[in-house]
Every structure is written in structure tokens, then in C-alpha cells.
């Protein structure tokens, strides 16, 4: 049984609270938020206690692990506090939007020896995990080409764009991680191009909302990722891994399986309206991996270092958007 404190009681904090309450190996202790009332509301509905100071959270006599769902600019600080206290940490991505600061944080946390994991939750999607299993088993042979689509339903507000770090760091990074995780291959170079088509004002922030990134992996295999902020038709992800012995595909998900046959057309259930509906089960699964690793004394995965690698690809892709040429991935 792991005693866990949750930092952050916003939307994603509430998602984690539900998983924490439902996990049989978790003793859900505390909820901390800069807004104490918000922490209390969340705590009370899941049998935990709200706390008003980080000192209570990072008290190793009461807490075995923290789940860091604070605002992005606090992740690094909270990771360091966990390292100092000798408390395990499961942290929302990114470690820090600044790659150099992220690197320093990872080095600091690794030196402390605590168990730490980044919540790249898509790795815990049933279909993506199955794709990895198939690739690992050699069923598609040597990996030669990947195709990944990442398409959100609607433009985030410009205030979000302003602090997001840009499409590569904020959205595409999940798919940089998936591509290297599924194949077990490092990214060596990346070329990215994009436009502000859904919302031209995105360009004012030096950002794009519709982009293509092409990654070259260590074995010469190629990865194609298209990232779209506003699909208009719902939340849409898919992955193909092509290899010397065949292809494996994690297909688009539909929200239902209803088909209406009319003259000339068949109208079927559409996509999920939003990302949360699509990826919801992955949060509990990621938490289960973290808790299971703590229980077993294993290192949980994805580690901070793995997250750093995905971030380094996003960094190179961001440079490529500006330079218009292929950029090496500097890890």
C-alpha cells in the first residue's frame, strides 16, 4: 500500500484523484493546491484530506509518493522537493518547458535515487501498448516507417498557446515519445514545417497549428507525424508502424458502432468529441504502473530521462520550424 499525496486540484488533478481513490494499492492521503478550497472540495469527495502547506505533502513519515499535477512552471520545483524528501514522484509532463532546466532537474532527481516517472499516459493506451508488443515481438520485422496523427478537436485559447511552448513541445511531444518508445530506437534528426491555418493569430506567437514533423531514427527508419490543433470533427489519433515484415496499425477510435444505411451512403458513429473521452482509461493504467513499480521495487517507466529524450526531439523540431531545415536531436 502506497500513501500518496496529490499536488494540484485542477481538471487533471481531479482525474488523478479518481484514479487514486479507485486504486486498491493506494492510500490516498492528501490533496494540496494553492487554492485551498479547491483542494478541500476534491479531497472530501475521495476520502482524502486537504493540506495547506507543501511541508505536509513532502513529509516522508506520512507520504510515500506524490503525484505532481501542479501548473507546468512548478513541476521542476516539486520534483526537487520530492528528491530532497526521498519521496517517489509521478509527474505530469513536461518536466520543464526549458530544456536546460529540465536536464538539470533530471540530473538532480536521479542523484537523489528516488523513483520518478513522467505521466506520458498514451503509452498506457490499450491499442498503443498492443502495437508495441507486436513490434517488440518482431512481428513487423525491422521498423522502416512510422506514421502518427495527432489531431485535437478545436483551437485552444490564445492564452494557452502563449504559454504552451509551441505545438511541437506541447502536442507533438507525446508522439515523439510514442515513436521512440514503440520502436526502441533513438531519434537522430528531425525536420518540421507548419502553418497557422486554423487560427492565423497563432503566428503572432511564433507558433503553428497545422504541422508535419519528419523524424529520422537511428536505423534510418523514417517517422511522419502530422499535428493539428483544430480537426473540427473530434479527437483523432492513429499510429502505423511499417516494417520489413508487415504493417501494424492502431486505428482511429469511433465513439460508437452505429451505422445507418441510406441510399448511396452509410452514416456511422463519429469520433470522440474530445481528447479526454479518448484517453481516459490511460490515467488509471499509468498510475497502476507507477504504484506497481513502487510495490515491486522496480524503476517505473517512462522515466524522467525518457521524457527528456522526447523533449529533446521537440526542441529540435521547434528549431527546424524556424530554420526550415533538418535539425539534429541533441541529447
Amino acid at each position: 500500500m502506497q500513501r500518496i499525496a496529490l499536488i494540484g486540484a485542477g481538471f487533471i488533478g481531479a482525474v488523478h484523484a479518481k484514479s487514486l481513490a479507485a486504486n486498491p494499492d493506494v492510500d490516498f492521503r492528501y490533496v494540496y493546491d494553492v487554492d485551498l478550497a479547491r483542494a478541500e472540495t476534491l479531497a472530501v469527495s475521495h476520502g482524502a484530506a486537504a493540506v495547506s502547506s507543501l511541508a505536509q505533502v513532502f513529509d516522508a513519515s506520512q507520504v510515500d509518493a506524490v503525484l505532481i499535477a501542479s501548473s507546468t512552471n512548478k513541476h521542476a520545483e516539486h520534483l526537487r522537493l520530492a528528491a530532497d524528501a526521498g519521496i517517489a514522484a509521478l509527474c505530469e509532463k513536461p518536466i520543464d518547458l526549458d530544456l536546460e532546466r529540465a536536464r538539470e532537474t533530471v540530473a538532480y532527481v536521479e542523484a537523489s535515487g528516488i523513483a520518478a516517472m513522467v505521466d506520458f499516459n498514451r503509452r498506457f493506451d490499450r491499442d498503443y501498448a498492443e502495437v508495441k508488443r507486436i513490434v517488440d515481438a518482431g512481428e513487423v520485422g525491422d521498423v522502416e516507417l512510422l506514421q502518427l496523427s495527432s489531431r485535437g478537436p478545436s483551437m485552444p485559447p490564445l492564452e494557452y498557446i502563449a504559454v504552451s511552448g509551441g505545438q511541437m513541445r506541447d502536442q507533438t511531444v507525446h508522439f515523439f515519445d510514442l515513436a521512440t518508445w514503440i520502436t526502441g530506437l533513438d531519434a537522430v534528426a528531425v525536420s518540421a514545417t507548419g502553418s497557422a491555418l486554423a487560427e492565423p493569430r497563432v503566428a503572432d506567437y511564433g507558433d503553428v497549428d497545422t504541422s508535419i514533423a519528419t523524424v529520422r531514427l537511428a536505423n534510418g527508419a523514417l517517422v511522419q507525424i502530422d499535428s493539428i490543433r483544430r480537426s473540427g470533427y473530434g479527437y483523432d489519433e492513429r499510429i502505423e508502424v511499417f516494417g520489413s515484415e508487415g504493417l501494424v496499425e492502431a486505428k482511429r477510435h469511433r465513439a460508437g458502432q452505429v451505422a445507418r444505411y441510406g441510399s448511396g451512403t452509410v452514416t456511422e458513429s463519429g469520433m470522440h468529441a474530445g481528447w479526454f473521452e479518448r484517453v481516459q482509461p490511460t490515467y488509471a493504467a499509468a498510475l497502476a504502473e507507477f504504484v506497481g513499480a513502487l510495490e515491486d521495487g522496480r524503476s517505473p517507466s517512462p522515466s524522467l530521462r525518457e521524457a527528456l529524450r522526447a523533449q529533446a526531439v521537440a526542441e529540435a523540431a521547434t528549431r527546424s520550424l524556424a530554420s526550415g531545415r533538418e535539425e539534429p536531436v541533441l541529447s
Copy 2:
């Protein structure tokens, strides 16, 4: 907020306990089971209290509603106790395996004026509800033919067969209900034929494991239902409603969306291994309808009387299996 007690802490009771704990309009009070230890285990993990007597359950000063998940032969008795206490009831199907006793129970409960609902949970499946919405909206025109498949993954034990009431009353009854609910039409006659192919010893119980029932609805439309106890390939349901203006289909569900392309074949994700994986979300949705109706002062649906109608079709189908001819539905 509805104060609810759960009767029955077996497999399906545990499913209901989870829904009760998660429903924001429910104050989950008690768990009762003939095995008190089992009740306690379930109660403690969901913040409820175990009780050892039915008097505590049927105490209207403490409880607004009961969820009856006791063994089949106790349903009628527990419904009558709810009626006597003036407590609302959500009851697992069937009301009673004996149609006459079920009729008497419904009359008794209706006379009491309590809100009562039978947990025909498939009505709350997202896809089936969508099919009904489409049919109700007239999008397929006048209903002319339905096709429903009900296929369980593996033979239940013979001890279960012995007390199940037979395939029509136990398995097909859900689909008799779906057919009449979706179309809003009464069943007038039914013809059934079957064989004991998966397990020949099923015939020793006067039962079948592979059957076809053909129902004639009030408007002359025809309904085809195939029921299979052991599919071997997982849990499989599908529904088609054909009308004068087109067809609507609720397709088979696959457990995932992964496809492997090889030479000559594509291997895709299979069906769900069991019924529970397929219908799991319907339990919470059925509970939400029940609780919502209580909160709003509406009559919850499906009512006991609706359940009785489906049971009458199952009864006629059971007679037809024996007589070899079409039998009228006597309601």
C-alpha cells in the same frame, strides 16, 4: 441525494456497489448479504456500512431506495418488502422465474405506488440507445424486420442451466425486451427452435444452447433472434433494425482497434472476452436513470410491467421450443 441500500454482495452486487459509490446523487448507506462477512468486505471498500438484518435495509427513515441484487428466487420477496416499506426499488431481472408469481408481484408492487424499475441494463448501452433514438425519430421509416444476435463466450456450468429457466427466459429475454423497446411495438406471437449443440447434456434439462426465435410484432414486422451460449470467440451482440426507409445497425464491438497487415490477411483485435467487459458502462447508466427519476419524481423505466412483457415473450418462446409451432404471446 438518494440514500440507497444494496441487497446482495456477490459478483453483480460488487458491480453495483462501485456505481453506487461513484454516483454523485447517491448516499450509499448499507450493504446486506446473507453472508455478513461478504457484505462487510464490500461495504468497507466503498464507504458504506454492512447490515445483518433486512429490517435495517427496509427502514424508510434511513433508506430511500434499495438495489435488489439478491439471488433470483428472492427478488419477488424483496420487491414486496420494498412495497410494504414504501421504499423505491431497482431490481435485477427477472422479477421471478415463474411468470404467474411475477405477475402477482408486479400487481402488488404497483398497488403500493412505490417507484420500481427492472435493471434491463442493455437498454442503457450507448449504441442501443442511439438505435432507438434513430428509430423513434422515424429515420428508418416503418419497422419491418429486426435481427438480433446474442452470443455468450462459453457454456455456463450445468448447475446454472438447471436453475436458469432455460435459454429463452435467461438469455434471449434481454433481446425480446430490446426488440419491443426499440420499436415501441408489442410482440404478438413467437416461434422458436433450438438444439443442444455446444453441450449435449443441456438437453437433459429440456433446454437448448443454440436457438433461433422468430417474433411477430403487432404491425406485422418480423424479429429474428439467434441465441448462442458458447461462441468460442468471445462475447458477441449485434442488432439491426430494418425499416421502409433504411437500416440501422449496432455493430459488433471489438476489444481494440489494432490491425496487422500480412500477406493475404489482416489480423485485427478480437471481441471482448466476456459479457461484463462489453456491457460494463450500462450498469452505472441504468442506476443514473433510476436515481434521476427518483430525484425528479418521474417513474423510472423499464418498469416492472415492461419487464413482465418481455418475460411473457420468453414464456411463449419456451412453449414454442416444446410444441414446434408458433405460440401466441399471452400478456
Copy 3:
């Protein structure tokens, strides 16, 4: 090389003419039709000669085989002429609408020793042949249940209904044949029920346009066939064969593979508008089997006797529609 004469230059005759002209093992000699001008038009566009007398057609010094695509009431007569002349015959179904006369014709033709085949073209559909291969290979184990749907796009004219022999003999008969051919099992009894829903005047002819037939096979397996004259959404066929080791399905065909993703729905390509578009490739394949058998000295299949068996099931189903009970198949 087989010298072949075609009898009948109507719609289906024109289909056969095209296959005859394209088949490299066929020397397409003659076209005969009671309307000589029609015969000439068809002959000239395929490099054959029109002939005005049946004596020219049934001249074994010039012709090795005939393809009988005359009107239904002439099939038996033309089969007998082929038998008398010692010329092989490929005949459109049915042999004769009257079962007794069909039986006599088959006996007569068999006595002559000519090679003869009935054009049950659906057997030559790529998908149905694949289903049979899978069933024959034992990949679904022992056959336990079949489901077949036969749905035409629109009501035929009442004049056609009047001479069709009824839905069972005219439409469902193809699926009686498919069910027994795929499984290799004889039909022992059949129960049918139907309504005149698409066109109530169909009832004036003692016929139905929407029906369900349930066939019992020799091993106790059950077959469910729904037949619909007017789908409204295009031509629709599908087959499922369920066995002790799994299920094999020949899915509905769509006319294309285009999908439009919009908010809430995906609109996909519809069904083929008509039966011909769906089954077109089967005609050339059936002809190839006939010609190949002649070239190799094999007996072509489906034989007249096999067609007779399907007709006997249709006859029993027609009786069942009237009697309201299961009827034995008398072969």
C-alpha cells in the same frame, strides 16, 4: 476450345455474351432469340452469328455446348433438346418452376449423359467461395448456425411477382443453395413466415416481400435467412457461418471506400445500387467452371441435381408460409 451457342438475348443473355466473348477457351458461335433482330445486335457486337432456328443451335457438328438464358418457362424444353443432341448445357435457374416437372427434366437429362450445370452464380462469388473453403477446412469446427441476408434494392413490378413462383422459389432459393453448399449438409425441415410490407398488393398473389426462413440441417444446425424485396438502401447480402470453433462472415459490400468525418458522424460509401453491380464478376467465373469442366472431362458443378435440392427446400418453405408450421424437405 468449346464451341458455344447462347439461347436468349435479353439482359442476362447480354451479360453471358460478354463472358463468352472474353473467355479464351470459348469459340462463341451463335446467338439465338425468338426476336431475331435482338439476337443479331448482340451477336454482331461480340463476333458471333445470329441464328433463327433452334435446329442450328442444337447441331452437335457445330456446337459443343449451349448456354440457356431463355425465358424461365423454356428452360426445361431447351435442356431436353440439349440432351437429345448430346450437347452440354449451362442453364439459368430454375430448371422449371414446377418441382415435379423439374424432377422429370433432371432425370431425362441425367439419362442422356450430357454434362449439365445450373448457373447458381453466387457460389462463384470470391467471398462466398472463401467462406466455403474455410468451412471445408474445418476452421470453424462443426457448423451450428448460419445467418444469411438477401435484400434487393426495390420492389420488382407486380407482373414479375405474378410469374416469379413466390419469394422463396425466386429469391431465397439462392440462399437455400448457398447454405447447403457451404456446409455440405442437407436441409431436413424448414419453417417460413413473412409479410407483404413493402407492397401490400403482393399478398393478392399469395406472396410475401419480407420473410424469415429457418432451416434445420441434417446435423441439427440451424439456418436463418431473411429475404427482403425492397431495402431502399441498395443491394445487400451477407453470410455468417457459426461453428464450434468460431465464426466466419462474408460482410456486406460497399460500393466504395470513401469516408467523410464530420462532427458527430462519419459518412461512408453506401451499398451497391443494384444486384448486378454486386454479383457481376460471378457470371464469368461460373462460365469458366463450366468450360473448364468440359475441357477437363469433369462433371461441372452445381449439377442439375444440386439445383433440384435447393428447389425442394424452396418448395417446403413455400408450403410453410401457407401452413404456418415447420415442413419437411421432400427430396
Copy 4:
């Protein structure tokens, strides 16, 4: 009625011969090939005459149009002969592997005023034409991103690679054409990257067998094309067009619609084994457009100039493979 001569009696010439013989508006006159015996075999089986000199082919008193299916290095010469003779021409792609020589040829042919068309047959695929119709109708709004996959089943022989002009000019060019044709937008720049993964010796020819090309269209929309020489699982093409109002997809084609449901997996029909099986109907459709345009006095499309534009994109993509940077499309 158009009198047509065919130049070239190889594999693709034989495909065209079949279409020419079947088209009711074509009087199929001559077959010419450097190998006269091969021309004779093809001619005789389709009711045409073999000729041994190009003078007979380019005789405007006998021939209205030529179908140029000669070897690639002869296309330009045969187009010029058609221009000189005032005979219409339908020419296999490419006009000439050398872009400059292709440009000169187009100018020469245009100056002559003959009707001329390049056989970009994929434009006549039912699904791709439907996609274009949907895009033209504005149903996906403004085009923002395209994804096209082009995957052949197996490595062509190295002798073919040696004279192919490289993957961009030989394979991807069809998809450069489709992307600009469907969207009605010009390509302005292209970036390509690739590897020799299926056959490392391809690198000896300065070529790749697995590549990604990213095209920027005039409105800022992005196009992603992955080209694979050896899929190993069959012939695989798909297209997605994403716009401001939704997505339209021309899905992969399967060779059949058979599904086997087993425990844990469903095995479905695979892809077509080869490209010809997949695109076969497009040849007759392209010919019908050419002949129809001649009959109506319209200019047939795709014109030589349209083909030149696709070739210019392929040229820029070929430069990009070498330079490692985005290259402008010089038209």
C-alpha cells in the same frame, strides 16, 4: 467512333488492348510493336491488325488517335509524330524522364493543336474521383493537410530501378499529381527524405526505396506522401484530405470482405496482391475520358501540361533528396 492505333504490345499494352476492344466508341485498328510477332498475337485476339511500320500508325486517313504505350524513352518521339500527323494522343506517363526534354515536347505538341492526354489513371479511380468531388464541393472547407500513402508489394528488379528515374519520378509522381489535382492548388516547394531499407543496393543508383515527401501548396496547406517500394503485405494506397470543415478519406482496399472470428483476434481479407488488381478499372475509365473528349470536341484531361506540373514536383523532390533541404518547385 474513333479509329485508334496502339503502340506497344507489352504488359500495359495488353491492358489497353482489352479496353480498346471493349469501348463501344472505339474502332480498334492497329497494334504496333518493335516485336512484330508480339503485336500480331495481341492484335489477333482483339480483332485489330498488326502493323510493322510507324508510318502506318501515323496515317491520319486511317487513324484518329494513338495510344502510346511504348517504352519510356520513346514517348516523346511518338508524341511528336502524332503532333506532326495531326493525330490525337493518349500517352503513358512520363512524357520524358528528362524534365527539359519533356517541356520541349509539350510545347511542340501544344503548338500542333492536337488533343493530347497523359494516362494518369489513378485520377479515374472511383474513390479518388469521389474525394475530389467532395473537396470541390467545399464539403471539407479550405484544404489544410493531405496524407497520401503509396506502397508497392515488392521490390522491382534493380534493372528497373536503374532506368526508373528514381522513386520520386517513377512512383511518387502519381501522388504529386493526385494532391494538386484533388485540391486544385499548385505545389510551391517540396522536401524529401528517404532510405534504402528494403534493398540497400538501391543506394548504389542514388535512389531510395522508402521515403517521405512533404509538399507545401500555394495556400500554405501541407502534403505528406510516404512511398514504399516493398510493403510485403500487398498493394496499399490511401488518401486523406483534411480541411477546415472536416476530413475525407479514401481508405485502403481489401481484396475481399471475409472475416474469421477466433479467440482474441479477427482475421480478415488482406490487401490486393499487386497494383494491377487494385487499379485495373481505371484504365478503361481513362480511355473513356479520352475517347469521350474526342467525340465531344473537348480537350481531354489530364493534359500534357498537367503532367508536366507533377513532373516538376518530382524533379524538385529528387533534388531535395540530394540536398537535404526544401526545394522550390520550378514550373
